[in-house]
């Protein structure tokens, strides 16, 4: 079915993401060199990863183990055997001038990942994930900073041979929001299973987006463009939005979308053509004769299976159920492992009764404050014990919420002992009904004109009056009176 395009035609985007993740194994994929970010150039190299004549690759078993973990976490099938191929093309940062990668028999097939969208939960299918080696890193010296127009180029082979997993989604993603949610969830999952430090900014996670558009209702997919060079979730979102708009404009004006690779320019805020399909390489894939098929043993599968940690989605469900916190707070905790650890320790001290308060105090008062100071939680003066004690005081009505916030502010700043700070700052909450009743009586006597209006007031007016008396009582008690007790005293004294 062909749909005639008019200016009112509605379009939908079809997006698939290819994510490259650097695995954080101690050594490289095919040799014993350190897999270490930040060493001096060309110091983590040997005959194998420099492709000296006669050298041969030997597969790092840890990489297979990491791949199996990814297989478990993303619900992949891991076939009995997978095979390495050579992907042949010339580039100076690739020492062998072929990349050892997997092709039609990857280690992971048919996985999936659940993401949260504005319309609820959505399952994104993942076609495959395969192992491959990274290339070296080129620096183009000259005014342009890109290969074209450079005076000369320098190559650092430390990264050559570093293990990568390429994770290829199906084109199930339909907006930039979903693309971001997918990458963000994928990052959380990979982080939780400790296979990569997944930093888009540092390049340990690289995302390419295949984007196409089609009129709503059309079965056939549009021509897609592959977008590269997005260095953050934000630039991924912007690039995808730009590309969708660009393609819709092309189609509406009757021009063809070209199958090509496009480069995202963060500063200019647009994509531009890198190379078209006609210029694309013929990679001449063939099975790597220097390696044997990868056949994970049953023992290895079992070892990986039994050592899988809790995944982010499971963890969120558990926190919502056991701690009685909101999904959004659970999401915040799970995506910030250090903050989660901070709260988790507090809850283990104070019990799950304080979990809800501990979470919200930690997110707003503690993390909010630390963010402003640019301080990490594990080096901040405040401790999990502090948080637990403050929450317990609140639960026992010995401290009001506002007092708790003041106290936490102090602790975040300079730390200290909770019990002595409560004394020092005069923060103890008064819950002695006798003492509070005296204050209520005093206030009601002082504002007898307002009390007189109570009998005839409607509900709205009464609420206002009650708030007014409450404020006066709190002021009178220097903020230390227990608000719940004040409230019930005021209500009972005014009657109906």
């Amino acid at each position: 079915m062909t749909i005639t395009i008019s200016k009112d035609t509605q379009f939908e985007a079809v997006i698939g993401l290819e994510v490259h993740v650097e695995l954080s194994t101690a050594t490289k994929l095919f040799c014993g060199c350190a897999n270490d970010f930040g060493s001096d150039p060309n110091t983590n190299v040997c005959p194998v990863c420099m492709a000296l004549p006669g050298s041969l690759p030997v597969l790092n078993e840890r990489v297979v183990e990491f791949a199996l973990r990814i297989g478990e976490a993303l619900d992949f099938d891991v076939p009995t055997q997978s095979v390495f191929h050579r992907k042949n093309y010339f580039y100076p940062d690739m020492p062998k001038n072929f990349q050892t990668s997997q092709y039609d028999q990857p280690i992971c097939m048919d996985g999936k990942l659940e993401i949260q969208t504005s319309e609820g939960t959505k399952v994104i299918r993942i076609e495959r994930a395969h192992m491959e080696e990274d290339t070296g890193k080129s620096t183009h010296v000259g005014s342009s900073g890109r290969l074209h127009g450079a005076d000369y180029s320098l190559v650092d082979y430390n990264r050559a041979g570093v293990p990568l997993m390429e994770i290829v989604s199906r084109p199930d993603i339909s907006s930039s929001q979903e693309a971001r949610a997918y990458v963000s969830e994928l990052r959380a999952v990979l982080k939780s299973i400790d296979v990569s430090d997944v930093k888009m900014e540092e390049g340990s996670m690289r995302v390419d987006a295949n984007v196409s558009v089609r009129p709503v209702g059309q079965e056939q997919l549009g021509i897609r463009a592959e977008i590269k060079n997005m260095n953050s979730l934000r630039s991924l979102g912007r690039a995808v939005d730009f590309e969708i708009a660009r393609q819709i404009a092309l189609v509406k004006s009757g021009e063809p979308v070209i199958q090509e690779t496009r480069h995202w320019d963060e500063n200019a805020g647009k994509t531009s053509s890198m190379r078209s399909k006609e210029e694309a390489n013929d990679y001449r894939y063939f099975p790597e004769p220097d390696l044997v098929p990868v056949v994970p043993t049953d023992d290895m599968r079992e070892m990986v299976h039994s050592s899988m940690p809790e995944l982010p989605a499971q963890k969120r469900t558990r926190l919502v159920d056991d701690w009685n916190i909101s999904d959004s707070d659970a999401r915040t905790l799970v995506s910030n492992p250090e903050l989660y650890e901070f709260v988790q320790v507090a809850v283990s001290i104070g019990g799950t009764d304080i979990a809800k308060d501990a979470t919200s105090f930690a997110i707003i008062e503690v993390a909010g404050e630390l963010n402003e100071k640019g301080l990490a939680i594990d080096v901040a003066p405040i401790t999990s014990e502090n948080l637990a004690q403050v929450c317990t005081l609140v639960a026992n009505a010995e401290l009001s919420r506002n007092q708790a916030k003041t106290l936490l502010g102090y602790l975040v700043d300079r730390g200290g002992v909770v019990s002595s700070l409560v004394q020092e700052l005069g923060l103890k909450q008064v819950s002695d009904t006798g003492a509070l009743e005296a204050i209520v009586d005093e206030v009601l006597a002082q504002y007898s004109d307002d009390v007189a209006q109570w009998a005839d007031a409607d509900e709205g007016k009464r609420k206002k009056l009650q708030g007014f008396f409450m404020g006066k009582c709190m002021a009178q008690s220097k903020g230390q009176g227990n608000p719940q007790i004040f409230n019930s005293l005021i209500e009972s004294k005014l009657g109906n």
């Binding site: 492709a51 000296l52 100076p92 063939f286 220097d290």
Partner: protein, 442 residues
Amino acid sequence: MESQALEQAKEIDRKKSAGETLGALAGTTVAIKDNMATIGVKTTCASKMLENWIPVYDATVVKKLKEADAIIVGKTNLDEFAMGSSTENSAFKTTKNPHDTSKVPGGSSGGSAATVAAGAVTFSLGSDTGGSIRQPASLCGIVGVKPTYGRVSRYGLVAFGSSLDQIGPFARNVSDAATLLDVLSGYDPMDSTSINKEYKPLTDVLGSDIKGLRVGIIDELKGPQGFQREVLDAVDETAKLLEKNGATVGNVSIPASAYGLSAYYIIAPAEASSNLARFDGMRYGLRVEEQSAALTNEATRQAGFGMEVKRRIMLGTYALSAGYYDAFYAQAQKVRTLMINDFKQAYENFDVLLSPTSPTTAFGIGEKTQDPYQMYLADVCTLPTNIVGATSMSVPVGVDDNGLPIGVQVFAPPLGEEVMFQVASAIEEQANYNAVPVVGAF
């Protein structure tokens, strides 16, 4: 190299006078084909591309030789990157046949074969991708072995066809070949395709009775086209000698070997095109500097590779290209499977198989250089073994009317070296080959 050799010799003298245990090869000298990495010693592959390349590491076989107290005295000439059957494709030298200096020594390990034939060393190492040990052994009148794929580590052997390459020994007799192969054999964690297995010494099987062994002559490898009459006769003679000693002899067909040459000239160049991609002038070897990395790469490869190497890179690149892969590379892999099955079937009825090693005795220098296809035919009998990953060896049995050596090839199934050496040593004893080269230390 020279100073290293003298050092090694002194060290062995010291060990001897100190009464220390000596390695299995103490007192012997070895030459190494110049496509195996030797630390601190140029490894050129007979190519301008690596004319001045000095490895920073030893090939596993070189390490093993040193550990066994062999004295490595030199690196030997070859066809550039081991591509050829006459050693005429060397970028540097022409190697001559010690039995007739107007003839080629065969190839690609021609230097290693000629060195041993001339008595310059006790034995030497060659590499065999389609016959590069056995064919020159045959042409030079010595013993040459292509071991089972995975028996000897390839680490440090500059790759030509990775799924076919195997290092093996040259020696003047079967016993020496067994001694050297025993040293070379064994699992190497640096080579993923090496077989993890303990081997029985081959020297133990030499001279044992061949009574009852079944010997099959391969129908497809006895001409008549292109095969020299004397060579075919030598195979029949050899079979008769074995029969006389209690073996049973029959004929056997390996139908898929008809496609062997075609399959080989797809698989080997395909792998070579990828293996040789690393020579781009960026990290080591020749560099012809131009205005950009791409142009430097192009100019370096243009200047660094000889004709035959370029021809094979082009063949291989073509065979792997999109749209041709299924017609060429995939088909060749199917032939491989067929041949494996054919051989398996043959070994249900036979213990070893027999054929000529080379269709002819040594040919003249320059005789085949203008006709690559004629040159390729020189390996028609040897390349099936590489395609199926099995083992075979060439044993000298006689000379033709011009006094040029003739070799017979003994085949065994993968890891069948024991029975192969058993039969080879019987052939050696019966044939009593004793041609003396015109050049050499005799």
